[in-house]
Symmetry: D3
Subunit: 238 residues, 6 copies
């Protein structure tokens, strides 16, 4: 029995609110249950230095949590004077995941920065960030298309979304909330495209090592969940 | 004529949304027009080191802006590795302003941290932070009262709110938005209590020096605006 | 009765010693009683990056305290690895105040940095820095005029000076020393031009909020004090 | 055809040199071909602060590269003033992987730090670090056992080793060297125990998304390789 | 011929002004010609952590330069966020030099920090700092003796002073000013006690290597100069 | 009697292993007994910014210690966020020493960085770094000569090597190991060229001041030791 009463293959209620920012070229407030992440896309008309004169652009991501997004207040990273290892790990993952569906040549010599700021955390902030970040990116490209800068369908090769799965109380479950996440035996994050290709898989045994069969079960759960998320993305865009 | 079409003594639409955080002891999403600040209050059951065994507590504040809260994306302070001078100036101001209406002895040896994070900026982020931070603080004290830790009316001596006034296009106006703020001749921030006492006044001549008469006019505008804000705070709490 | 025996409207003995640096284009050791600040002006023949090709120059300020300028030794900011919030607040104030009397167009594409280093502190270091920094700036411009780079009277539109006033033991007093400052009920810093225009006003209620009447009284005290400081600046230059 | 001429399921020559440090409680110079990592284990007789009085100990890891371990000299992280995101990601992975086979209760309130310093890099530094770090950890526990502090077999529950697999030029291959790694379509790191349990799996699509079948193939390659590495660890210890 | 017209064995005019700080337990403004260093001694009634319960105290030093102490303005180290290598090298030298004449047991579990801040630089700032720092230290101990905390003659075993010598334009000269220093072939700093013992010697070939004979000549010059400095210290104290 | 049983004028066994790095243009693993330092030379085809268009190149050095190179594990400088004063002092010394035998004009507008990383420490890491760093530099120049970039004999004017001497238990001894170094009364480092010219001398009285005669004795010991080191360098290169 999951603390939330959800079934093992049941994700939390997922919602996307687009155009939440007056300033950003694209933006999306994504909610996976009580996990709320504000994603904005910011366009810059020049690529990072190492891509100058390459004809290619870049998509990158930054991630942050408001200090009281969590149950106990965490120290503000700006006050601490550096981004922690977890933050860097997550923002590198978000960037890689989004780039997996972008044709950087078609984007041209520009950079889009996806900022994912966790307003409230309840587990799964990185998967929500990727899933919502995709919409911010999409809307930024739409904004550019409206200005004849790119064709969205040339730049964006597919959808991309992410979900966590894990083994909680001996049961494989999808979309772990904080209560589950903090006592799961195994925790895995999956990033997949609309066509079902795997972009990233990160599985960690928190307690006992897990088996190949368990991995397959989690992957199966994830595949279904991500298909559902992609469907929701499509509805949000439509 | 103001860019927004407002009258010189007309503030933007102000709203307070309380209890927006699942985790914080008190929280408030305050909006002054397109300026949106999320304020949370976090209780810690020990005071800062320099107040140990003093019988007194402390109220402090931290301030941040999401990178794309502004028209152009600003560098994330956590990535830059330090909080800028403007950030530090503002968070010190918020802390001082809120402490002005708190009886630190009655609070007891605890610390309350008010985090003010600007979700979207359009001028007046510091005044919105103080005004909304008051409600987060109030609700945190209510949370404590419900647990018999304090009596709210013993700790909270009065309301406190803040507004900016300035001289724009030769006219004294209240509650400057970004367009006005960036070209105002004079810019002043006022913090006042519910009883009308002045807690803080910061006036700066951006172009030409201003006169005592002009200062008085701005103070008069501010007095009315703050009275209105306090009224709105009271309605929000009621 | 003030701890120093001064009358309520009596400033400390103020002195300016010019040309104290062998290297700087302008320099002034300013003393407000036991508060001693060494101000130097350093000319750089290019403006900050954001003013390139604008035809305009810039005046900026940096502020520091020697570790044992104070009663207790303070940690050296260079060793701490950052400038504190108070330091940044003060150096921003000094810069704004001096720029208020400078025609940046007439200065041309150059930068003048005013370094204000507190050799000994006894309250009022920021007001002494502004008042003495003006002379360092003036002398730097004179140095430039001697080399046909600018006309001083074109660049420098007026004098600027600053003084603190506050309510100490229930009495409005001018030019608080450390003993007064640390127990004042209200503390305000005023920056004004030679013509009496207000450049900056920063008033803070340290204990109880203050009233508009009190503010007016402090402003009146400040006006007289600053007039006196400007007179002393003129004598120093003459 | 692999650049090195290796077969697709052929790892590079792996060697372990134990007791290479005069000072460390355990140490191992591990070589995966031209990738050389010096692993040392340092015992501290107190756990991290958050484990005081828990009866438990901790195993942590730090990772670094000598500036010219790579083809082009990289900036020294100590000079840059911070550890990069990649470094933090890797050292967190090493720590998690080793803890997966340690009974922290049986270790007692102590901390063992595994330093993995890359002397020369040619791809696979993180997998070499985990595989060699296990031996440094083992030898540190042996050192402790010799002093009657712990029983090795109580603390160390199993072997742990790691290998990378990837899809290079359309072929699934094991133990990628730098040339392969920098142009692989898919890159995955596997950490497994002696009994074959999965501790960690991190797969990334560098170009096109990969399929579940490809993942299974890589996992199969990894399983064989890790079994071989564990065998080599056992010979090294014997 | 030296740029200053001095003879090869002629130091610049040296002066000591004691008690220049209202706050510090000991202070001295030392001048070696145009090199001016403000030295303060700050007493703290506890030793550094690693000397707790050892019965011993500590003497340490910190060094800084005002940004415009030099011909060109140097970046403020507090703004740069760290102390440079040269600063650290010099402050370590000052600390070692002063400790060489202090009985740390007799000092007791306390720490004295000598801050040496260069107000104006013209070569030889480290030697002036050591020579003047000795007087600040002495006066701090006198201050303590007046409060029956120590006996000066028990703590202070001897005088200590320092001078630079070098080979300039082929000639061995003493007490190099900036002009000489920046083009000297060899540059050496000597720290010696009142009895003539060598505490520290640091010689560097800036251009060609130097010979043992040249070293002896420089040492001879330094011995005479330091004897003179010690004599001046004695007069200053008397 | 020395702890190691060596004679007072007997250095530890010194060895050089060249070409230890697959990547670096020059490299050398130098051992002075149990002190092992890996020196690599990295060529960059542009000089530092301040030498652009000067026709001159630069040789610089960086120094680091692996955390467990020492008896107790030291904090990793990359994790601490800065290089300590000792590190900076040493790397500046290595750079100056090597530049003393390099004709920077003949090198041309390039930079060679010598990284000296201490794999294991037992006293004398800086002297081993200089002595081994010379070989890395030499081999880098040979590498360049093979590509017709320079003539080694034009760039490299002489050999350079370094040794420590000190007074231990009342006896002047050469090449102190850690045990001797940590309780020596006097500690001096000498850097000399193949022709016997002095490049650098740094002598410190750790306890009592030392005399000119003692300095001469140490210099004599060093002269012999360095002659021997230069001989070994020549054999290594031959």
């Amino acid at each position: 029995m999951r603390p939330s009463g959800r079934k093992t293959d049941q994700m939390r209620k997922v919602s996307f609110e687009r155009n939440v920012s007056k300033h950003a070229e694209g933006s999306c407030l994504v909610k996976f249950g009580d996990t709320h992440v504000l994603c904005t896309a910011s366009l810059e008309e020049k690529p990072p230095a190492w891509l100058r004169n390459s004809g290619k652009g870049w998509v990158t991501a930054e991630y942050g949590m408001l200090p009281r997004a969590t149950g106990d207040r965490m120290r503000r990273e700006a006050a601490a004077g550096k981004q922690g290892g977890r933050t860097q790990e997550i923002q590198r993952l978000i960037g890689r995941s989004l780039r997996a569906v972008v044709d950087l040549q078609a984007l041209g010599e520009r950079q889009i920065t996806i900022d994912c700021d966790v307003i409230q955390a309840d587990g799964g902030t990185r998967t929500a960030s990727i899933t919502g970040g995709f919409l911010a990116l999409h809307d930024c490209l739409k904004w550019m298309e409206a200005r004849s800068m790119v064709k969205v369908e040339k730049v964006l090769k597919d959808h991309v979304a992410a979900i966590s799965c894990g083994i909680f109380a001996g049961q494989p479950v999808i979309d772990l909330d904080y209560l589950e996440d903090s006592s799961a035996e195994t925790d895995a994050n999956f990033v997949m495209t609309g066509k079902g290709g795997i972009v990233e898989i990160q599985g960690t045994a928190e307690a006992e090592p897990f088996s190949q069969d368990e991995l397959m079960t989690l992957l199966g759960l994830a595949r279904n969940g991500i298909a559902e998320l992609v469907e929701l993305q499509k509805q949000a865009i439509a």
